[in-house]
Amino acid sequence: MPFDPLFLWQTFIALLAGIPLALKLAVFSIAVGTVLAFSLALMRVSRRWWLDFPARFYIFSFRGTPLLVQIYIIYYGLSQFPGLRHSLLWPFLREAYWCALAALALNTAAYSAEIMRGGLLSVPAGQIEAARACGMARVLVFRRIIIPQAIRQMLPGYSNEVILMVKSTSLASTITLMEITGMAAKLISETYRPVEVFACAGAIYLTMNFIAARLFALIEWSLWPERRKTRGPVDLADQKGELHV
């Protein structure tokens, strides 16, 4: 296989067209998933079993099954019910885009909920007691004491989750969406040059994830003044690297 810069360049340009869809899927599903995750995390820490139990079950089932099966259940599976096919939701459920978005959002909600729960639980009980003793109402304690610290705690885990979501958008290609991986698969089967196409697509994903990681490092740097070193946000990026699955 001779090295062919022209082919690499053309492939790269062709694959760039898939970025908007991949980004749209990632950004919207993370946005929706975050809202869902926050509710789930609140349910988990509520100490009321009838709130805790459903959230637990949701998280268990979405984290215990592959994303692919979730996508297929929503996209192919729901069509089994005639009632749904005649409902108002059908125009959305018929579209691969909305199904992929829904599956990605529901999936990331389960993972992010646990990250947020960890963040919420990391706030020392003494601080909450102190705030209550100062006469703050529950909502105010939540807003002033718990949330700001919880957000800082969960940032590294959340940044990992965002990177996983960028990677997960590739699964949308299995239900006919032509994002980066879908285009790459098409190019590979047209040209039979898997290595070059893979290199281009891989470079695009790595760049997107690199930017996402840097953004989160920057947010962490700006939210955590006491951890700042003199050299700026670059240092913080090396502190994470814990495994999040």
Binding site: T65, Y72, I73, P194, Y205, N209, L243
Partner: protein, 237 residues
């Protein structure tokens, strides 16, 4: 046809097919996991080596494979090895596309991907060791392998176990992606079943339930192993 009859073991039931496919999922995930462990050990060893080139190789391996979608890696392995085999085939006069064995390429692909995660886990486990113990071992005159066998391995394995369990869950879920290259595991079997019965929801939900069962059982197994590995240790927190 009712759900129980559909997933039953009768003449038109899909029960036995689904169970066989579940076995295939466990088989391909275990193979991928084993390959990943090997890659992880190699990666972690390389990251601790004195050679800068090896360190750089380990770090670019983990960065790249953790930043690129698994599906893309599976496509690369499948089409890559297929075109390699076709190329070799054409030397011997056969022409046309020869597809690579799906089990082997699939297991290899998820093995290489999970190896990147495994590298991080194993690296962290070794870094968590008490440095003084290693120095003490050296001071006793232990050679590298003895030190590794007696001091590093038993303790690092204990530290690594939770992370390794996470990677196993990841591999199990990734194995569903191998269905795209045609291996008849759980996901593919559900596709086949829903195609011929037009009951996709029943099939995919059953597949999801079976995945959940495997993750639950293996999760419990890892928890037991973790508890067992911690026996005889006092917990600080």
């Amino acid at each position: 046809m009712g759900y129980l009859q559909l997933m039953g073991f009768g003449p038109d039931g899909w029960g036995s097919d689904m169970l066989r496919a579940t076995g295939m999922t466990v088989a391909v995930a275990s193979s991928g996991f084993a390959i990943g462990l090997v890659f992880g050990c190699l990666g972690a060893t390389a990251s601790f080596s004195k050679s800068l080139a090896l360190q750089a190789a380990a770090s670019s391996y983990t960065t790249a494979l953790r930043g690129i979608p698994d599906l893309l890696v599976i496509y690369l392995f499948y089409f890559g090895s297929s075109s390699l085999i076709s190329g070799v085939g054409s030397l011997f006069g056969s022409d046309g596309f020869v597809s690579a064995p799906a089990f082997l390429t699939g297991a290899l692909a998820i093995g290489v991907v999970s190896g990147a995660y495994q590298t991080q886990v194993l690296r962290g486990a070794v870094l968590a060791l008490n440095k003084g113990e290693i120095e003490a071992g050296r001071a006793y005159g232990m050679g590298y392998f003895l030190l590794f066998r007696r001091i590093i391995l038993p303790q690092a394995a204990r530290h690594a176990l939770p992370g390794v369990g996470n990677v196993w869950q990841l591999v199990l879920k990734e194995s569903a992606l191998i269905s795209v290259i045609g291996l008849v595991e759980l996901m593919r079997q559900a596709q086949v079943g829903s195609g011929s019965t037009r009951q996709p929801f029943s099939f995919y939900l059953t597949a999801a339930a079976l995945y959940l069962l495997i993750t639950f059982i293996s999760g419990q197994a890892f928890r037991l192993a973790e508890a067992r590995s911690m026996r005889g240790l006092r917990r600080g927190v």
